[in-house]
């Protein structure tokens, strides 16, 4: 701060501020136009009866929000989304953690296995849908073939067509695609733990479990925080995987909130669709902020 009292320095700082503003403006402008403005306008429409096509619309206050509670299809979409998130998030964290711990070393073989595990990240939604068919199709799928060769009939169930099983299949495909990414973030956390800590613990005779619970897990907290927040946000926003695998069906069994927003928006209920998306956004922000606050406190305790 003392440097500000020098006149030459002050002139420099002013010029610096101007350049730095110029550095920020293009990114901020495009981000604002493409994301912030549409989302904010969308929030405004949530209080109207606009159908999405005509010029005129009326203000209806909170009527759209009140309708959410009464609308069975929307309620189902919220329940499905919460069920997906509640089951998917812990499994994705657990699988990602196990993968990271078992692929921690950097031998050529391990790095090769890592590569296979992260490959699904590159797969598009469209191709993921095809892979879902390869696995789950009751006539041509791998599981159907396995059921036939092993005699275990339940494996060959109509996974994507049975309302009771479709959500399990959707979660399995999501785990197939994203567990590798969760692993990468845990691996990033693991590489920042100094090797000396383990050497010291081993000299003290610490068991593998003690090393994990006393060193690895506490020092992984920043990575765990990111993974937990990302899987929670990702779960509440889930769309692609469900869209390509089941289209929300059978019936409404896997319809998620974002899908409900998209379909309602396309069928002249624009205002109502916007109110659902505002509700989801607020819910996501609350979940993310609460999770961050809790986890950061845990991190502070661990460091």
């Amino acid at each position: 701060m003392t440097s500000y009292s020098l006149p030459t320095r002050r002139r420099f700082a002013l010029g610096e501020r101007a350049t730095r503003t110029l550095f920020i403006v293009p990114a901020l402008a495009i981000f604002t136009i493409v994301m912030l403005v549409p989302v904010a306008m969308n929030a405004g429409y949530a209080f109207t009866d606009w159908n999405g096509f005509t010029q005129d619309f009326g203000w209806v206050g909170l009527a759209n929000f009140a309708h959410i509670g009464a609308d069975v299809a929307t309620r189902t979409a919220f329940v499905n989304t919460l069920v997906f998130t509640a089951i998917n998030a812990p499994l994705q964290i657990l699988i990602g953690l196990i993968l990271a711990l078992s692929l921690r070393s950097t031998s050529r073989f391990i790095v090769g296995v890592r590569l296979i595990v992260v490959m699904p990240i590159a797969v598009s939604g469209v191709v993921l849908g095809f892979i879902g068919t390869i696995i789950f199709d009751p006539r041509t799928g791998i599981l159907a073939a396995l059921a036939e060769s092993t005699g275990l009939e339940f494996i060959g169930a109509n996974w994507l067509g049975d309302p009771k099983l479709a959500m399990a299949a959707v979660i399995a495909m999501n785990l197939w695609q994203w567990s590798g990414f969760t692993m990468l973030i845990f691996l990033a956390g693991l590489t920042s733990i100094p090797e000396e800590l383990y050497e010291a613990a081993q000299l003290d005779g610490a068991s593998r479990w003690q090393q994990f619970s006393q060193i690895t897990w506490p020092l992984l907290s920043p990575a765990a925080t990111i993974n937990i927040v990302l899987t929670l946000i990702g779960g509440l926003k889930i769309f692609d995987v469900v869209y390509v695998l089941t289209g929300g069906g059978p019936g409404d069994a896997t319809r998620t909130v974002v899908m409900r927003v998209v379909t309602q928006g396309a069928t002249s209920n624009y205002g109502y669709s916007a109110s659902i998306s505002v509700t989801l956004t607020i819910l996501t922000m609350i979940v993310a902020l609460v999770a961050l606050a809790v986890l950061r406190r845990r991190e502070a305790r661990n460091s």
């Binding site: 799928g141 791998i142 197939w176 990033a188 974002v258």
Partner: protein, 280 residues
């Protein structure tokens, strides 16, 4: 008491790889079938969907390429991806640099605004964005889609760069400035090269997102001349809905370039995430 690297320790370490190997097999088997099925004819596929191909038959690839007019779709997807990713890298790295070196609180506050873009589901603004784009004549127009991809890609890129920058020491920058280098010059010739792992991470993650995008091109690109690969694949599936090997060939063609890019860059992703995501 277990000594470090005692035989039982090494054995336990070997055993711990087993879950990862099982997971890798679960990943590989369906992926392998995706690549195998297009080498078989429709008749072979109907008789035994999971059979092994008799030989390397590239006919389905030829059909997919010619009938699906994939050449145009490839050129469009490549152009959209290259321009969007380059712009995301340039704009986000500059913005994150300015934000992280800003004196006072404004920098971190503005960073929070960018981070908000990670929470809000991007699809939710699309109908409104469509009306804005239609008014500006940007619908069914590749630059219009590029602009959307840049805007949608900026939050994650700024997030990763900002975290990475907090671990880059400022002394060098200060020294260069005292020697009279401008801010722009400090950034382009000193700071940006140091950001390489973050840039590789941003490059690969945004390449995947833009290359694989379906929803933006479904909304914003109508004409066949402007179609992208995922859209072409979906259209192809409805035309050839019984010829599974042909539309799987189409899927493989759209997957291979991004998979190669991913394999080439993935080793940087780990270091980019280590220094980026974990610091923000």
């Amino acid at each position: 008491m277990t000594r470090p690297h005692s035989p039982s320790e090494t054995f336990a370490k070997r055993l711990s790889v087993i879950p990862a190997i099982i997971w890798a097999v679960l990943i590989l088997v369906p992926l392998a079938y995706l690549f195998i099925i297009p080498f078989r004819t429709q008749q072979e596929y109907s008789a035994n969907p999971l059979g092994i191909p008799a030989g390397l038959n590239f006919e389905n690839y030829a059909t997919a390429w010619n009938q699906g007019q994939l050449g145009t779709a490839f050129a469009n997807t490549m152009a959209v991806t290259a321009v969007s990713v380059a712009a995301i890298i340039a704009l986000s790295s500059a913005a994150a640099y300015a934000l992280s070196r800003w004196r006072g609180r404004a920098g971190s506050r503005l960073f929070t605004v960018f981070a908000l873009g990670l929470i809000v589901p991007f699809q939710l603004g699309l109908p409104t964005l469509y009306k804005m784009w239609a008014g500006a004549g940007l619908v069914d127009n590749l630059p219009g889609v590029i602009l959307i991809q840049i805007g949608a890609g900026i939050p994650l890129a700024v997030f990763l760069y900002y975290g990475f920058l907090s671990g880059v020491p400022r002394e060098l920058e200060e020294a260069a400035k005292i020697d009279g280098a401008s801010d722009l010059r400090v950034f382009t010739s000193l700071v940006f090269p140091l950001l390489k792992p973050a840039t590789a991470t941003v490059a690969i993650l945004s390449t995947i997102t833009v290359w694989n995008d379906l929803i933006v091109s479904l909304y914003f690109l109508q004409s066949k001349a402007n179609q992208t690969l995922p859209k072409a694949t979906i259209g192809f599936q409805s035309t050839f809905n019984n010829d599974v090997p042909v539309f799987f060939a189409c899927a493989v063609l759209s997957l291979v370039p991004v998979l190669i890019a991913f394999i080439a860059l993935q080793k940087f992703v780990l270091s980019g995430l280590t220094a980026g995501a974990l610091r923000s």
